[in-house]
Symmetry: C2
Subunit: 428 residues, 2 copies
C-alpha cells in the first residue's frame, strides 16, 4: 500500500489493468482447458466404464472366465514387460503432480486393457486407480501437445485425474478435491481448484448423459446423534482406522511374500492367480470378484454382510493386485470399509446401514489420508442426512490411522498428533 502512494495515477492504472488482463487471461485459459480435458478424459473414462460393465456382465454370465485368471495375468505381465517397463501405476501419476516426473502416454492404453482383463477374469481389483492413471496420462499428453510449461502440466494432470474419476463414479466434488488433496496431505493445490471442479462437473455430466449411473446408495436407518450413538460411532471409526492400517500392511506383506518366493514376474502372476482361484473355491462365493460394488450395496442398503467379508476382500485384493494384475485399491477399500463397518454396527448395536456408509468413508480416509475427500464422497454417495456421523467417522479415522497409505509417493506434510511440519512419506 505504501508503494502505491508513490505511484502516479497513470502508473497505477497501467499496473492494475495489466494485472487484471493477465489474471482474466489465465482464468479463461484454464476454463477452456478444463472444458477440453473434462470432455476428453470424461469420454475415455465413460468408455472405460462401459467396457468394465460389459466384461463384468460377461464374467457373471460365464463363470468359467474366472479360470482364465492365470492366462490373463500372463498377458498383463507381458504387456507391461513389453510396453510399460517404466510404468509406476497410480503412484507415478501422483508424483507427476509434484515433480518433473512424466506419465508415459502408453500408461493410458495399458491400464485400460489390463484392468479390463483383470475384471473379465474376476480378479479382486478396483477401477478408480485405473481411471486416475487413464485421465492423468491423457491430460499429460494433451499438455505436451499444446506445450504447457511444467507448472501448468501439473495442473492439467490433476484435471485429467479428476475428470476420469468423476466420469466413472459420478462424484464430481470428491473427484476434484481428491486430486488437490492426495499428493501432499496437508497441502491443498488450490491453483487447480477451478480447473478440476469444472473438468469434473463436465465429465460427470457427460458420463451421466451417456448413461453411466452415478454410484449412490441409500442409507436406510440414520439415528439421531446423541452421546451414545456418537461414542459408538467413535468406536467403529477407531476400528476402521485399525482396518485401514491392516489393509496397508497386508498389501505390503503380500508384495514381500511374492518377492521372496517368485522373483520371476510370470511365475508370480500365475501363482497369485492360482492362490486367488484356490481361496475363492474354498469360500465358494463369487462375492469378492471385481471391485466389490455389490457388497457395498448390500452392506449399506440392507445392513447385512458376512462377518469375515472385509478380511477376505483385503486378502484377495492384495493377492490379486500384488501379483501383477491391474485396477486399483480405492473401490476395494470402500468395500472393506463398508463390510467392516456393517459388521461392527451389528456387533455394537448401531444402525449397520449407517455404519457401513461411515466405515466406507473412514477406511478410504485411513488408506488415502484424504479427510475432506472422504467427507465429500460420503455426501455424494449417501446424501447429506448422516453428516454428523460421517464427520466423526472420518476425523477419528484420520487421526488414528497413522502414517500408512496406499501410495508410497504421498507425503504427509504435518504430524497427525502435533502441530508441526514433518513432510513424511507414507508407509505401505
Amino acid at each position: 500500500m505504501e508503494k502505491d502512494n508513490r505511484q502516479t495515477p497513470e502508473e497505477k492504472f497501467r499496473y492494475y489493468s495489466g494485472a487484471i488482463r493477465r489474471d482474466m487471461g489465465n482464468l479463461l485459459k484454464w476454463l477452456l482447458l478444463a472444458v477440453v480435458v473434462g470432455c476428453i478424459a470424461g469420454a475415455f473414462s465413460t468408455l472405460f466404464s462401459f467396457v468394465l460393465k460389459a466384461v463384468t456382465g460377461y464374467r457373471k454370465a460365464h463363470l468359467w472366465t474366472f479360470f482364465l485368471l492365470p492366462l490373463f495375468g500372463l498377458c498383463i505381465v507381458f504387456l507391461y514387460e513389453k510396453f510399460g517397463k517404466d510404468d509406476g501405476g497410480t503412484n507415478q501419476v501422483l508424483s507427476t503432480v509434484r515433480s518433473q516426473d512424466d506419465v508415459p502416454w502408453r500408461s493410458g492404453p495399458l491400464i485400460f486393457i489390463s484392468t479390463a482383463l483383470t475384471h473379465l477374469a474376476g480378479g479382486s481389483a478396483g477401477r478408480e486407480g485405473a481411471a486416475i492413471q487413464l485421465g492423468g496420462s491423457i491430460a499429460n499428453l494433451l499438455g505436451r501437445w499444446i506445450h504447457l510449461d511444467e507448472e501448468d502440466r501439473h495442473v492439467i494432470v490433476m484435471c485429467g485425474m479428476s475428470a476420469a474419476f468423476s466420469a466413472l463414479f459420478g462424484t464430481p466434488m470428491a473427484a476434484a478435491v481428491f486430486s488437490l488433496e492426495v499428493v501432499s496431505v496437508g497441502v491443498m493445490y488450490y491453483t487447480a481448484l477451478m480447473p478440476c471442479m469444472i473438468a469434473s462437473l463436465i465429465a460427470s455430466h457427460f458420463a451421466a448423459g451417456m448413461g453411466v449411473t452415478p454410484e449412490a446408495f441409500h442409507v436406510v436407518n440414520i439415528p439421531a446423534l446423541s452421546l451414545e450413538t456418537g461414542l459408538k460411532m467413535g468406536v467403529v471409526a477407531l476400528g476402521c482406522a485399525v482396518i485401514s492400517i491392516v489393509f496397508c500392511i497386508i498389501l505390503n506383506e503380500t508384495a514381500r511374500f511374492y518377492g521372496r518366493f517368485f522373483s520371476n514376474k510370470y511365475a508370480r502372476v500365475v501363482a497369485g492367480a492360482v492362490l486367488v482361484i484356490f481361496i475363492t473355491l474354498i469360500l465358494g462365493t463369487t462375492d469378492y470378484m471385481g471391485a466389490g460394488a455389490e457388497l457395498i450395496e448390500k452392506a449399506v442398503e440392507t445392513g447385512d454382510t458376512d462377518y469375515m467379508a472385509f478380511f477376505w476382500k483385503m486378502l484377495l485384493t492384495a493377492l490379486t493386485m500384488k501379483a501383477g494384475f491391474r485396477g486399483g485399491e480405492i473401490v476395494p477399500s470402500f468395500c472393506v470399509g463398508a463390510t467392516f463397518g456393517c459388521m461392527a454396527g451389528q456387533l455394537i448395536g448401531l444402525s449397520p446401514s449407517l455404519c457401513a456408509a461411515c466405515g466406507m468413508a473412514a477406511v478410504f480416509c485411513g488408506v488415502t489420508n484424504c479427510p475432506i475427500t472422504s467427507i465429500l464422497i460420503a455426501f455424494e454417495m449417501f446424501g447429506f442426512k448422516g453428516v454428523s456421523f460421517y464427520l466423526i467417522a472420518v476425523s477419528i479415522s484420520y487421526a488414528a490411522s497413522g502414517y500408512y497409505g496406499l501410495y508410497k509417493d504421498q507425503t504427509i506434510v504435518y504430524s497427525k498428533y502435533k502441530a508441526k511440519y514433518i513432510n513424511k512419506h507414507t508407509k505401505m
Copy 2:
C-alpha cells in the same frame, strides 16, 4: 522397512507397542480436550447468541437506540483504550494459530460487550468474527491453565474458534474446516481436524439443545445444470469475485479515510456513527442495521432484493467497523453476496434465489479465500441439492478474486494462477 528387518521381533514389538500407546494417548487427550472446549466455548457462544438476539430484539422495538450509536462508540473505544490496547481482533486470533503470538484473555469479555453494544445501537456489523475471538481467547486461556506446550496451544485455539463459530451459526462442519483453512490458504492444519470436528459438533448440539436455531435457508428454485445455466452461474460468480475485491478495497479505503481526517479515536468513532446515522436516515430503512440476516433470508427465500442493497451494506459495514465498532465482517459479507447474487440473478435471468445462495458462498470465498469452507457452509445453510452450482460459484470466485482478503495476517501459500509457492500476505 529396511530398518525393521534388522530389528529383533522383541525390539519391533516394543517399538510398535510404544508408538501405539503414545498415539492412542494423544488421541484420547485430544478427544477429551475437544469435548471440554466444545462445551465451554459452546456455552459462552450460546450465551453470546442469546445476548445478541435480545439486544437486536430490543433495538427493533425501540428504534431510538440507533441514535445512541455515537455514545456506544465512545464506550467501545474507551474500553479498548483502557483494557485492550494490544488487542488485534480476529486477525490476532488467526496469527496465534501460526506464531507464538497470544490472545489476551481480556479479548473475550471485550469483544462480547462491544459487539453487543454495536448490535444494540444497530451498527452494521457481524458476529462470527466476534465469536471466533471469543472462542479463541477462552481456549487459549484454558490451554495456558493446563500448561499445554506451544504446538498444542495452536490446536486448542483452533478448537475454540470452531466451537464458538459452530454454536452461533449451527454449521459444525464449516466451522471446523474454517479454522483449519483460513490461516494459511493452501495449507490444511489437519492435526486439528479431529479436535475441531468434535468440538464443533458438541458446541452446535449444545447450542441447539439450548434453543439456538441453526441458520438455514430454503432455496426455492434450483434449475438443472446445463450449458446455459452453468455459464450464467459463471458470470454471476465472476461478478461476486469482483464484489469481494471491491468490499476489501472499500474497507481499506474507509480505514485510510478515517485515519487521515480523524487521528483521535474518540473523534473517529463519533464521526463514523454520525455518518452511519446520516446515510441510514437518507436511505430511510432499517435493513442495514446489524448483521443483515433478514436481507439474506429475503434474497434466498423469496429471490427479492433492492438493487443497491449490496452496495449500501458494504459501505455501512465499512463505516461502522473501521470507525471502531466491533463484531465481524463475515455475516455482512454473506449479506453482500446474497443481495448481489440475487440482483445478478434477476438481471441475467437465472433463479434469483439460487443466485443469492451461490453469491453468498462466492463472496465469502472471495473475502476469506477459503473455498472448502464456502462449499461446506452452502451445504449446511442451503442443503445439498444445488451442489453443482455452489461448486462453480465458489471455484470461479476463488480463482478470480485475487489476493485480497479480510485478514491481513492470512497468507496465501500457492499462487492462484500458477502451481508455485508464493506465501503472500493478503491485501486489504
